[in-house]
């Protein structure tokens, strides 16, 4: 009886949603960052997202794209010397990067936090005075390269970073710029 009910259910159930999006996997987060820049500059509608649970390794990002564009996107990346590890279709929801910012005003200093990363500037000079938080190994490297530079002149964390912490710092850095120049 249960088998029959299952059969009826499946007959009248809405058709399974077919995959219309794909994800591009790369060897490292820094390759994702490069690919994102290339594809966005070419006008592709892509998003940087978290991978599905079954393929997570630790410090992962993937690029979500319209599956119909797979050939063109692959070609674009190949021309730029970026080789994806794998391209796979996706149906389920992907993890969304954090999009909440916290701003803290210390008087002469302003700190912005995105996820686990914080960046602080001296409001009087515009100089980045501290980078805190995070746990990936590019964080001390980014801190060493950003601290002491003016926010407007400092390299963007995306140019130097290779991990999700670097990506989070980029978001905090962009938000701080927006706060300073809005």
């Amino acid at each position: 009886m249960q088998k029959i009910l299952k059969g009826i259910k499946s007959r009248f159930a809405p058709p399974k949603k077919s995959a219309d999006r794909g994800i591009i996997l790369f060897e490292s987060t820094s390759e994702v960052i490069s690919a994102e820049a290339v594809l966005k500059n070419r006008g592709w509608k892509i998003r940087v997202m978290g991978p599905p649970a079954e393929i997570q390794k630790g410090c992962d990002l993937v690029i979500e794209f319209p599956l119909m564009e797979q050939m063109n996107i692959s070609r674009t990346l190949t021309r730029e010397g970026i080789t994806p590890l794998k391209i796979i279709p996706v149906v389920g929801p992907l993890l969304k990067p954090v999009d909440i910012f916290q701003i803290k005003d210390f008087g002469d200093f302003l700190m912005c936090r995105a996820a686990n990363m914080k960046i602080t500037i001296d409001k009087r000079t515009g100089i980045i005075v501290n980078v805190s938080g995070g746990g990936c190994p590019d964080v001390p490297y980014l801190a060493a390269n950003l601290c002491g530079k003016r926010l407007r002149d400092a390299p963007a964390p995306l140019e130097l970073g290779h991990t999700l912490c670097g990506y989070a710092l980029e978001m905090a850095y962009q938000e701080l710029k927006r706060q300073c120049w809005q």
Partner: protein, 284 residues
């Protein structure tokens, strides 16, 4: 004996290990001179100061250069997986390493082959991998900040970057996040949570709340979390139980901050330099 495993932000720094010595603003390790900046060097500096104050053996450090590409971390993971079984460290701290679940399993396998299981402390990238692997309970202490606590509380997030907004929300009570982290087996046996109010927890709940002395500017200073972790590691190595060591480490870090009279522009070295004096106020 205390071992500290981590990275330094220099691409060409080779895999190096040995006893560390603090000399002014630098750390000496097997012929290398490394500045005491934020990250694993700040952790080592704090642990070395505690060891010196308490008359303990100097910590042993296992370091490699990694600027985020993960190559150095993977070399270090491979070396440790092959060699940990031949060491007799009683306490091991894992710190700024590229989060990698597969390697985390191999490291734990190496630890299981040691003569006596050491106390395992994890912070930063290695803590992220420990949580994601589902084996957080194998660790004796995690030292997250509040943002990282939210990540531990979110059973779906593989990295703090993906912590869901409703969990990350500012008004979320730390106590609730602690419960969530333990409920989903994403917390170590003890946690020292670093924030405006530091918390020491175990699966039963919050054991200590430490809010004084207070210096709000510490939040902006990169490396103050590293110094807490190094301090607690030094105290655990002295034989203090982990909850007591965590409580005292939080106090020492707060006093070191207070004595430094920091601004948000102060660098972590300014905090490190006050650890000895802070110990006088906290340790009997």
């Amino acid at each position: 004996m205390l071992a500290i495993v981590g990275t330094v932000p220099y691409e060409d720094f080779p895999l190096t290990h040995g006893e560390v010595e603090i000399k002014g603003e630098n750390m000496l390790l097997s012929g290398h001179e490394i500045p005491l900046t934020r990250g694993t060097p700040a952790l080592i500096a704090a642990a070395a100061h505690i060891s010196s104050v308490l008359g303990l053996t100097r910590p042993t450090a296992y370091l490699v250069g990694d600027i985020g590409l993960g190559h150095g971390s993977r070399d270090l993971y491979a070396w440790l997986a092959a060699n940990l079984a031949h060491t007799d460290h009683e306490n091991i701290v894992f710190h700024y390493l590229q989060p990698d679940v597969d390697w985390q399993f191999k490291i734990l396998d190496g630890v299981s082959k040691m003569g006596k299981k050491p106390a395992l402390l994890a912070d930063a990238g290695f803590m992220y991998a420990a949580k994601m692997s589902g084996l957080a309970g194998e660790y004796d202490l995690f030292t997250p900040d509040l943002g990282e606590l939210a990540f531990l509380a979110d059973e779906q997030a593989p990295h703090p970057f993906y912590t869901r907004g409703f969990i990350l929300h500012e008004d979320q009570k730390a106590e609730e996040l602690v419960k969530m982290a333990y409920k989903h087996d994403n917390a170590a046996k003890h946690m020292l949570i670093k924030g405006a109010v530091d918390l020491v927890t175990n699966p039963k709940g919050i054991l200590h709340r430490i809010s004084e002395p207070s210096s709000e500017n510490m939040e902006a200073i990169g490396g103050t979390g590293d110094t807490v972790t190094g301090t607690v590691a030094g105290l655990v190595a002295s034989g203090l139980p982990i909850d007591e060591a965590s409580y005292r480490a939080a106090l020492i870090n707060r006093w070191a901050g207070k004595l430094a009279s920091p601004t948000p522009a102060t660098q972590v070295l300014g905090i490190v330099e006050n650890i000895d004096k802070a110990c006088e106020k906290v340790l009997d």
